[in-house]
Symmetry: C2
Subunit: 135 residues, 2 copies
């Protein structure tokens, strides 16, 4: 089995993920890390994002539109995609509520339900404020 070896590129990618709340796409990560490593390639970014996700040091967020997004937070939480501006915000529910959703589903299913991935749609705080001004 392959041993993981340090790389400045991966460290930079991880640091960026930990310091942003933007839930960037791979391409956004690429453009950002490119400022520190002008020669970095998109392939390297993808390889490291997938590595981090596999190690549980980042989360991959599958969205219905556009590319996947990445999150440096590793604890389980949800995301809200703003139907107005497209931004992705974090949303916390207690682990009790999370487990309840799985149990609820499991009770209504012939097989077995272990987990779920859910993405909410709505308005981010800023777009909500703007929509109120207009009315």
């Amino acid at each position: 089995m392959a041993t993981l070896k340090y790389s400045r590129q991966r460290a930079s990618i991880k640091e960026y993920l930990l310091n942003t709340h933007e839930h960037p796409t791979a391409d956004t990560v690429y453009l950002h890390v490119k400022e520190e490593f002008p020669n970095i390639s998109l392939g390297t970014v993808y390889r490291n994002l997938n590595l981090l996700a596999d190690m549980g040091e980042a989360q991959k967020i599958t969205t219905p539109v556009g590319g996947d997004r990445f999150d440096g937070r590793t604890d389980f939480h949800y995301h809200v995609i703003c139907t107005c501006c497209g931004n992705v915000s974090d949303l916390e529910l207690s682990s009790g509520h999370i487990a309840e959703i799985n149990q609820l589903a499991d009770r209504h299913f012939d097989g077995r339900v272990d987990s779920h991935s859910m993405i909410f749609h709505g308005l981010c705080p800023e777009c909500l404020r703007n929509s109120r001004k207009l009315s």
Copy 2:
């Protein structure tokens, strides 16, 4: 605005979606409809699947892995992806429960939550039975 015109290809695609529970990918739909229309092209299948989804006569299911899947059922319901065989099963929750999830999220969010898309992970009935035999 463009008027929708009948086409045998679209009718066949819709009929297939209504008569299967397999939640096929576009490619699976293509291979099936090809039996009736050997010259049909994948582009036509995609165009019609998107048309049906836009008209609310089918649902597009975004999955974390592999291509999107399509469902002829138009009422709101959930899906379970089997982590063992990859099949997609239907799962019903009452509209009360569905609304409750949105309200729960809305209460914990600064912006506004309108809806959600959720996919469950677990074992389909068949794989669950098989896993019990082994233990």
